[in-house]
Subunit: 212 residues, 2 copies
């Protein structure tokens, strides 16, 4: 992350909290300044408006999610390892949830983010594909024509819309437990391609029930 | 559909075309009036602003998608029947695509639509679940615990975000051929649960290649 003054860091953390909890559209620069206890002019000295703050928050998110997506799972055969890995991805997205709730609108408003976000989507697909290919080449998964690519695409879509679907369907703020549900819904997509005797679905079920 | 004056119908059709092609946020009431060749005052006499037009377009969409989702597939075993049925659902969504591109924003702006849209999502899940349950009870599909519900939810999500994902990933207007791709991506999710000798994935591939 770029070096920042203490004030800048405080503005960014405060803005992120307010955006996530109250919705980006409901929060103004003046609100952010007032929560921190600085004047709007002081805030303006650091950031020329809300969109500049969003661009900088996006840069932080981008750096973190790229790091996660680029570190492969160590032992992709273990449900536990997959669970932890996916949990970290979903958690990154959860921490940046104001953006995922309204991606299309924000990208229309701040066009500089469009290509950068598209590259993250592409990286999500590549990461999912790499994970599935590893498991396939080790003989743990078996796909028919087209199924592996389709599944990788679905997993990337699931990362992208998991929060928005909850919002549209239930209209409530997502609880943090939604992360576990997101992980489960990802892994259960992989279960039918499992080649071994005891199905991945069953192993998954055992893991979830032990996990409590 | 409600009975409407010719002018009202013209306003709605024009607005829908403009919203779909140029994006809802880029189109004003004045633009709509000017394309039809009436004065903004005349348009205002019929609709008090853009959001009233959107609510009425939504009502049309709601009526049509409810009809489709409530009519079961006649022979769900045939790929052809499933294909046609799903095609019609995706086509309804495609015809109302300005809304699906920005659901969250529009629902925040027009709260009256929130519950109505949530009910459509719920109906999508029920329809998918009914279709899968029929195939399962006939012995054509086999699910482990939790897999059937998870798949029904994924299909409903796929209907909901298929257009938005294309937009985020590629940044271009969706071509009409995207409907076929949407149908294919739905059916290929069902293939691994197929119980018969020749896999559904293979049947699907044959069907797509014959279809050209």
């Amino acid at each position: 992350m770029a070096e920042r003054s203490k004030t800048k860091e405080k503005i960014l953390r405060t803005a992120l909290g307010l955006f996530n909890n109250e919705g980006e559209s409901a929060v103004s620069s003046v609100d952010i300044a007032s929560v921190i206890g600085i004047s709007p002019g002081n805030l303006y000295y650091h950031y020329k408006g809300k969109d500049e703050i969003i661009v900088e928050l996006f840069a932080d998110f981008e750096e973190e999610i790229r790091q996660v997506l680029s570190s492969p799972v160590r032992e992709p055969l273990k449900i536990e390892d997959n669970w932890v890995y996916l949990y970290i991805i979903f958690e990154e997205i959860f921490d940046f949830r104001f953006f995922y709730k309204n991606q299309s609108e924000l990208i229309d408003r701040i066009p500089a983010l469009r290509n950068r976000f598209a590259r993250i989507l592409s990286l999500k697909e590549q990461t999912a594909l790499a994970l599935l290919s590893t498991l396939e080449s080790q003989g743990h998964l078996k796909f028919d024509d087209g199924e592996r690519d389709a599944l990788a695409g679905r997993i990337a879509q699931h990362f992208t819309f998991w929060l928005q679907y909850h919002d549209l369907r239930h209209g409530t703020s997502p609880p943090k437990s939604l992360i576990d549900q997101g992980v489960f819904m990802t892994l259960i997509q992989i279960t039918p391609y499992w080649t071994h005797g005891k199905g991945y679905a069953e192993l998954l079920k055992d893991f979830v029930s032990e996990k409590g």
